[in-house]
């Protein structure tokens, strides 16, 4: 089968790849572009580990045809940090012990980034809603929710909100 040329912006760089017809974006990002931050968990759109942002909106890259990102902007966790400086979300996840095995973390970070890009000062319920498509089997979610609220507070320049505990 003929491959299709696809060009898109991957984080801050231009990506130009030949993709198989019907190839999932997650496979193209991981194998074609060598960006291993989107994780493939269930390959059926349930777990959220493959979440990436396309033009700022979270998408499940396992269910997204790679050809559809032609000319668009794809953001993954590898673009979160600015050089050695971690994104406030990444810092809050580390300092708040919001990761254990780490498999869900990339997807959680991207879902959270999309939320904070559009709602810089979210409520706890808005955070929960934003990550409700992402499964985590280790943390019980609470440290993740707390970390996202902490990052939001830091980006707003005020002290972190109190957690539910």
């Amino acid at each position: 089968m003929a491959k299709t040329p696809v060009t898109f912006t991957l984080n801050d760089a231009e990506a130009a790849l030949f993709v198989d017809p019907g190839a999932a974006l997650v496979d193209v990002l991981r194998r074609g572009a060598g960006d291993l931050t989107p994780k493939q968990g269930c390959a059926q759109g349930t777990c959220g580990a493959c979440t990436v942002l396309i033009d700022g909106v979270p998408h499940l890259s396992c269910l997204t045809l790679a050809e559809t990102v032609q000319g668009r902007h794809v953001e993954t966790t590898s673009g979160l940090a600015g050089g050695p400086d971690l994104h406030p979300l990444q810092k809050a996840f580390i300092e708040g012990f919001a990761a254990q095995c780490g498999f869900c973390t990339s997807g959680m970070l991207m879902a959270a980034k999309s939320l904070l890009d559009q709602t810089p000062d979210p409520t706890r319920d808005q955070v929960i809603e934003a990550i409700s498509g992402n499964l985590c089997r280790c943390t019980g979610y609470e440290p993740i929710v707390d970390a996202i609220l902490t990052a939001a507070a830091e980006m707003q320049g005020r002290p972190a909100q109190q957690g539910v505990r």
């Binding site: 968990g41 269930c42 059926q44 349930t46 777990c47 012990f97 990761a99 254990q100 095995c101 780490g102 955070v127 929960i128 809603e129 990550i131 409700s132 992402n134 499964l135 985590c136 089997r137 280790c138 943390t139 019980g140 979610y141 609470e142 440290p143 993740i144 929710v145 539910v164 505990r165």
Partner: protein
């Protein structure tokens, strides 16, 4: 329709390290020529913190900064043997093996430093910041890095250590059955508050309060993380998760995440944890480890709370709305137990 509040209690004594077969684990420690130390293990970290805690233990035993210790659990084909990361054995078994390996490496490090400083090794101490000095004379010192370089390129010796932890295999006395099946026990008590809807049979856990005694909490944040995440999994097993809903029939069994029920971030239960520390003598720096017992007591506490709320005794998990409703009907209605 009425929402019934219920409270349930459970406590647990949890065995740390199974003595049957000795339950061994090994560790190997060696320095690189720049004075960093590598701990080789086959004890895989699945996110519980195996690498963090063994790194702390090695650093403390060696007397070097934790930043200068690496833990490599890469490959059970090439690493020293470990029974595995399971059954609440990791911190205790592997930690003890790491202490032995790191102590041997420290001894060699001190001997190498003694040769450089032309003093007796027993007169030397580490400052934990990367220096080895004569006791009482901090000025007479050599860095760990300089020591490792001298050992490697001048003295021709390794700074390395081998460690294994194995308890004598223990079998039951044929007459009395007496034995010591485990090394030490961790303990916990846990209270669950929940609500049961007697029309739908739905159970919603509203609060968990627990106290865990895990020996010394070697890494308090990791302990808390384990206890919070583990309790969530306990709630999940108590109320939602099963691969065999109509055992032994496979009909209607879940086959993927779409049909396998588990709570999401919307079902977070506030959980207040009190960690009590009673260091165990034979545990590495007293730490027994939280391990599996962070999930276990939640299940009986939920079952007891459901009974407390509506008088239905569920003896099969998970406690689904169907089971609760069937129980309520069999009793001729909800029968709240006791007054709270």
């Amino acid at each position: 329709m009425t929402i019934h509040k219920g409270r349930g209690f459970a406590c647990i004594n949890y065995p740390i390290g199974m003595n049957l077969g000795g339950d061994p684990s090994q560790a190997l420690v060696h320095s690189t020529p720049d004075g960093k130390f590598m701990v080789a293990l086959s004890s895989i970290d699945l996110g519980q913190g195996m690498k963090s805690v063994t790194r702390q233990i090695a650093s403390e035993t060696l007397g070097v900064p934790v930043e200068d210790v690496y833990v490599d659990t890469a490959d059970s084909d090439t690493g020293p043997h470990c029974m595995g990361s399971f059954a609440s054995r990791g911190t205790h078994r592997v930690g003890n093996a790491v202490i032995r390996a790191a102590a041997e490496a420290r001894k060699q490090m001190m001997e190498a430093a003694a040769e450089e400083l032309e003093v007796n090794a027993s007169d030397l101490d580490t400052d934990g910041a990367g220096n080895i000095h004569v006791k009482g004379a901090p000025g007479r010192s050599i860095t760990v890095a300089e020591t490792a370089i001298a050992a490697q390129f001048k003295q021709g010796r390794t700074l390395s250590g081998r460690g294994i932890f194995l308890v004598p295999p223990n079998e039951a006395d044929p007459d009395t059955g007496d034995m010591t099946p485990v090394t030490c026990f961790a303990h916990a008590a846990l209270v669950v508050d929940l609500e049961v809807d007697d029309e739908t049979g739905e159970v919603e856990v509203t609060e968990i309060n627990s106290a865990y005694e895990v020996g010394r909490a070697l890494n308090p944040k990791l302990v808390e993380q384990q206890l919070i995440g583990g309790a969530w999994m306990g709630v999940s097993h108590a109320l939602y998760e099963t691969t065999e809903p109509y055992y032994p029939q496979r009909d209607h069994g879940p086959e993927d995440f779409n049909t396998y029920l588990q709570p999401g971030p919307g079902q977070i239960v506030p959980h207040h944890v009190a960690v009590l520390e009673r260091p165990a003598e034979d545990a590495p720096f007293g730490g027994k480890g939280p391990g599996e017992m962070c999930a276990n007591p939640v299940l009986p506490a939920v079952a007891n709370a459901v009974y407390n709320a509506v008088g239905v005794r569920c003896d099969q998990l998970p406690i689904t709305p169907e089971k609760v409703l069937k129980g309520i009907r069999a009793n001729g209605g909800a029968r709240p137990q006791g007054i709270r």
